[in-house]
């Protein structure tokens, strides 16, 4: 099946998915409320002890990385719903691209991620965060964040295609997010983590995205934070981009293979 058909069918499915989201009351509430809740918790519950206003500046990059990672659970749940409610059976008997359904899902979930990003940026502005770099760098940084959101959605897709039911997809899709998001430099300096966790945190893609976002927006860490060193931190934007591409290169083929296998079961 050609790439053109895959893109065309992906677009058609994405449009259908988005219509679905728009017509599901509350579907976007989580996407909007979650960033707000995390801003409040991190900025004002933990933030005071971690550096106050300085920490709030540091925080937004980490929250962007964390929120976009969490959004992959939407992909897991919605794709699992389509799979287990018969609608994918309808798609499977059509002469459409075998990639189209999953591709459409990861695209439409990008819209959710854009909304979450906007909400986070607005929250950030409200609590004193600013992007101080030039417009081009800021734009490129947002594009990197979207690339990450797209990449991580494929992980959600693999979860959905592996899970036996919607419930399993829902819990599995959330479970892995906590260690991945919190064993990272998203909220603290990676250098403060003990032993092996520190190595994991330094190379964690979430850290890379958070650091790249901070660098891209010109945000600095509170003075008392140890500055995380090492290649990933020094080349955050490059490493973050490589992470995104690697995630897509690994998880997209798995997702497509899984979809085909389900089709043949």
């Amino acid at each position: 099946m050609s790439v053109i058909t895959a893109v065309r069918d992906g677009g058609i499915i994405a449009r259908r998915n988005f219509t679905n989201v728009r017509r599901t009351p509350g579907a976007l509430v989580t996407g909007v409320a979650q960033p707000i809740i995390f801003v409040l918790i991190m900025a004002f519950v933990f933030g005071g002890a971690l550096g106050g206003a300085d920490y709030r500046e540091f925080l937004i990059g980490g929250l962007l990385a964390q929120t976009l990672t969490f959004n992959s659970s939407f992909t897991a749940v919605y794709l699992a719903k389509d799979l287990h409610q018969g609608i994918v059976d309808r798609f499977r008997v059509l002469p459409m691209s075998r990639v189209g359904v999953v591709l459409g899902r990861t695209w439409s979930d990008l819209i959710t991620s854009v909304i979450s990003t906007v909400v986070l940026v607005l929250c950030g502005l409200a609590i004193g965060w600013r992007a101080t770099t030039d417009p081009l760098t800021i734009t490129l940084t947002f594009l990197l964040l979207l690339l990450y959101a797209f990449a991580i959605a494929w992980v959600g897709a693999v979860v959905a295609l592996t899970a036996r039911s919607v419930e399993v997809a829902q819990s599995l899709g959330l479970l892995w997010l906590f260690p991945v998001c919190f064993i990272s430099g998203a909220f603290v300096s990676a250098d403060t983590l003990p032993g092996p966790l520190r190595g994991i945190a330094e190379w964690n893609p979430v850290t890379a995205i958070a650091t790249a976002a901070r660098q891209g927006f010109g945000n600095t860490a509170p003075a008392q934070f140890e500055v995380a060193g090492g290649w990933p931190a020094e080349n955050a934007a490059l490493y973050a981009t490589l992470c995104c591409l690697s995630i897509i290169a690994i998880f997209a083929p798995i997702a497509v293979t899984q979809y085909r296998r389900i089709s043949r079961r």
Binding site: G86, F91, L94
Partner: protein, 346 residues
């Protein structure tokens, strides 16, 4: 148009299809009848490219479902027993989506969708009403319309009228007849013998993963022999004695020992009825009802599959304890139930 050639499929130890051959020419309706667990749904899933067969091959308009899945799907329209419609979309949006995924341009898909909505009397709903608030019958009609969007030469309908009210069933029947008149090859699985009788040009009876009988409704009825004699009894446990009595005068009885009724051949019609009543009186068996009738496909079924007409619904298996172990209550293919069913047989 549809061709199945020695299709086999196993789920673990259970053989769901044990070599199915079937040909459906253009412009005909082929009924596929069978009890639950017989292999109907597995056959449909193989034909619709959802399931790869272990052996053999099937062709949709000449395209192998194994190696030319995409070409096969292009020539295929499918409507399932569960209506696969998107609840959040309107009828128009549902059909437009399907049309686009068949490769139609958005405008053409929309025009075709309007046409089908009108044809299936779904155009009367308020604009913007979503399929989620449709009645069961409307959903089924929308699903059926989805199968016809691309005017495919082959249409496969998996129990299209299960759960429909009489009006909905009649509408669906009309639509199916019209399809065949337009030259479409239709494969129809059903649990309703009446439906197959009404619609099908040819009927295949599937049981234990094999086609056990095939022919026109008339041929199959002729196979069941002449007139039939139905009898009902008041006391449970009467059937074995009645069977013995009727067998002694040369009538062939089919019934369950635990049931309260039986059906027997009545080659001599009134003569057979009289002889039967006399034989029962002799054996001091009380009959509360006795009637003569023409054979139906139920009788064919009973004779071929050696099962009561439980194919009509799940009710019979609930009523007749003797039957329940051999009836898989759930839809096929369910390897667990099916395996249990196999064990009982062997």
């Amino acid at each position: 148009m549809i061709s199945l050639q020695s299709i086999t499929k196993s789920f673990g130890k259970f053989q769901a299809l044990a070599g199915v051959d079937l040909e459906v020419p253009a412009g005909t309706v082929q009924g596929l009848l069978g009890p639950n667990g017989a292999g109907k749904t597995t056959t449909v899933r193989v034909l619709t490219t959802l399931l790869e067969p272990d052996g053999g091959d099937a062709f949709i308009a000449g395209h192998s479902v194994r190696t030319e899945g995409d070409a096969a799907r292009r020539s295929l329209g499918v409507s399932g027993q569960y209506a696969a419609v998107d609840d959040k979309l309107t009828g128009l949006e549902n059909l437009t989506l399907v049309g686009q995924l068949y490769g139609m341009r958005r405008k053409a898909a929309k025009a075709r969708a309007h046409e089908l909505l009108e044809h299936f009397r779904l155009d009367g709903v308020p604009k913007g009403q979503r399929a989620g608030s449709y009645s069961g019958g409307m959903r089924r009609r929308l699903d059926l319309a989805g199968a016809l969007v691309a005017r495919p030469p082959v249409v496969i309908l998996d129990e299209p009228t299960t759960g429909l009210d009489p009006r909905g069933r009649r509408d669906t029947w009309d639509a199916i007849s019209a399809l065949a008149d337009d030259g479409t090859a239709v494969l129809l699985t059903t649990q309703y013998l009446e439906e197959a009788d009404e619609l099908a040009d040819s009927i295949a009876v599937i049981d234990g993963g094999r086609i056990v009988a095939e022919g026109t409704p008339a041929t199959l009825k002729a196979q069941a022999g002449g007139a039939r004699l139905d009898m009902s009894f008041e006391r449970p446990g009467t059937v074995p004695a009645a069977r013995a009595a009727l067998s002694s005068i040369g009538l062939e009885v089919s019934a369950d020992d635990s049931a309260l009724r039986l059906s027997a051949t009545a080659p001599g019609r009134q003569e057979s009825l009289r002889a039967a009543l006399a034989a029962l009186r002799e054996a001091e068996i009380e009959v509360i009802e006795a009637s003569l009738r023409q054979p139906t496909l139920d009788d064919v079924f009973l004779q071929i599959t050696q099962k009561p007409a439980g194919v009509r619904s799940g009710q019979d298996s609930a009523e007749d304890p003797a039957v329940s172990p051999t009836e898989a209550p759930a839809e096929d293919p369910v390897p667990d139930n099916a395996a249990a069913r196999e064990e009982v047989r062997s």
